[in-house]
Amino acid sequence: MVDLSTRIGSLTLANPVMPASGTFGPELAKVFDLDALGALVTKSVTPEFRAGNPLPRLCETEAGVLNSIGIPGKGLDHFIEHAMPEWRRFRAPLVVSYSAPTVASFAEGAARLAATPGVAAIEANISCPNLEEDGRAFAMHPEPAAAATAAMRRVVGRAPLWVKLSPNTGDIAAVARAVEDAGADALVVANTILGLAIDIETARPKLGSGMGGFSGPAFKPIALRLVWQVAQAVRIPVIGVGGIATAEDAVEFLMAGATAVQVGTATFVSPTAMLGVVDGLRGFCARKGLARVADLTGAALPTGLPRAAE
């Protein structure tokens, strides 16, 4: 029997497979039993109501998609009051993704979520525009990323705090170290990378808002590289995300230093993709004679360099 469990700081997951924020919802329970997953991750919640971006919000590319959904939602109050009861029906640990436009509102929301029963961890989505820095994303530079993280850490006590990094930075290792130092328990690597597609018949961008976030299998080599870089830069666990569709993909991320993985866009093409990843990880470990999936973490990192600790 292969032990699929994995530890992210103080949290133990039954297996290292979970959905990526924004590509998942309780609707997927119509397809399979969501408690088969290591954790559940909500789409990003924002402090206030947001209508979302103009249409079209999604377009496909070679082996991937571009999106600019715009985090539509009814805001944090509504989430805690109406969505949380629904999420509490599941046994798998719930990770709430939270996104805010200022350091103060990151802290405010994180504090409320940390106090909300049923929230196993907070995943701070800092790839959103920082209204105090000219709209540049927090995740672009070490200082604002660390400021948001530190502000949240101060108010959430020992509640698990994950921070999701962005590929749209020149030096992700520096951002990762800053966020680790500011008190994050784990890093989620990575959010979508900025991309563009143009409809050549109309000479307009295919997305209503112009550029969008690029994800899916085409993005995998970049996301894997980011995990590899971050895992060598920090000692806290890294959760790998970007283009994972199969167990083989997940093994690559674990070997690059990830402690768990998230599956996003692949679920659109195959709603049961995550189940396949869980089964396939078990099969891979069995074939390789590995007792614990956790032994895969960092297996490909250059010898001598610190592996991402559990």
Partner: protein, 280 residues
């Protein structure tokens, strides 16, 4: 279902579990010049599919070529003992790949998805106004109505007789079909309006249904409001997940309080209350 406040809703079926399944193609054949139909072997899925619902199809042809994302397709034929059928316009690379599938090959489907049409057993007569691919979406409603003893009166709009697909629409349901064409001008909105007013006067329907044309949707919305007849419209939108998770497929809908909200075609739709939906 607060969006259809004026219907004593009896949904055509329970919110079925959604399957991801590889199905065998039984028949794959062109229909007219620009359409294609696919019949799949899917005993249980067909039995629990309801008119107005849709499937999300992986559009890879026998050569494995096709777009990355799935494509939504209304259920054109379904029911216990029936194959699962789709009727579609061959439009871009996804539908082209679908049309290249051959009998015996496999097609990966996800579904049934979305909210289907609601039929009230108390109704005696419904009117259906369809154009283009809206025909495929509304076709199974004729059979469902017939099974409930509800008479269906259909007005089909098409470019010309070659594009009509009346057979594909009504099948053996016994629905009465009136055709209007661009070719002879009979499909002009003003003339369809006159036609509908005459129908409403002669035999007032208990409910109206439409799909496939923005202009006809607006016409029917206006007339049904004037006559106080409840209605339903099936909307389209580009989709990502098809399951309600990505929020890319929204349309503007008026909620119970009259406020305009974004609702997901794949989850709250594709069928919406005719008065609640906004034109596109």
């Amino acid at each position: 279902m607060h969006l259809r406040p004026n219907i004593r809703a009896m949904d055509l079926g329970p919110a079925a579990m959604v399957a991801e399944r590889s199905l065998k193609v039984i028949e794959s054949a062109p229909v007219g010049r620009r359409y294609h139909r696919l019949l799949l072997e899917a005993p249980d899925l067909s039995a629990r599919s309801r008119p107005g619902q849709f499937f999300h199809l992986l559009c890879r042809d026998g050569a494995g070529n096709g777009p990355y994302l799935r494509r939504p397709m209304s259920i054109w034929r379904c029911g216990a003992g029936e194959p699962l059928g789709f009727l579609f316009h061959v439009k871009g690379k996804g539908t082209a790949a679908l049309a290249r599938l051959r009998a015996g090959e496999a097609l990966s489907v996800v579904g049934p998805l979305g909210q289907g049409f609601a039929l009230d057993p108390a109704w005696r007569r419904i009117l259906i106004l369809a154009r283009g691919v809206g025909l495929a979406t509304l076709a199974p409603l004729t059979g469902a109505a017939a099974a409930m003893g509800i008479a269906a009166d259909a007005v089909l709009s098409a470019r010309d007789p070659a594009d009509l697909m009346a057979e594909e629409f009504a099948g053996v349901s016994g629905a009465s079909v009136t055709a209007v064409f661009d070719a002879d001008g009979s499909s002009e909105v003003a003339r369809v309006e006159a036609l509908l007013r005459a129908r409403f006067a002669a035999a007032r329907p208990d409910a109206v249904f439409t799909c496939g044309s923005n202009r006809l949707f607006l016409l029917l919305q206006r007339l049904s409001a004037e006559f106080g007849i409840p209605g339903q419209v099936a909307l389209e939108q580009q989709m990502g997940c098809g399951l309600g998770m990505c929020f890319c497929c929204v349309r503007q809908i008026r909620d119970a309080s009259g406020a305009v909200v974004n609702l997901r075609v794949c989850a709250e739709g594709p069928v919406f209350d005719l008065q609640a939906a906004l034109a596109w």
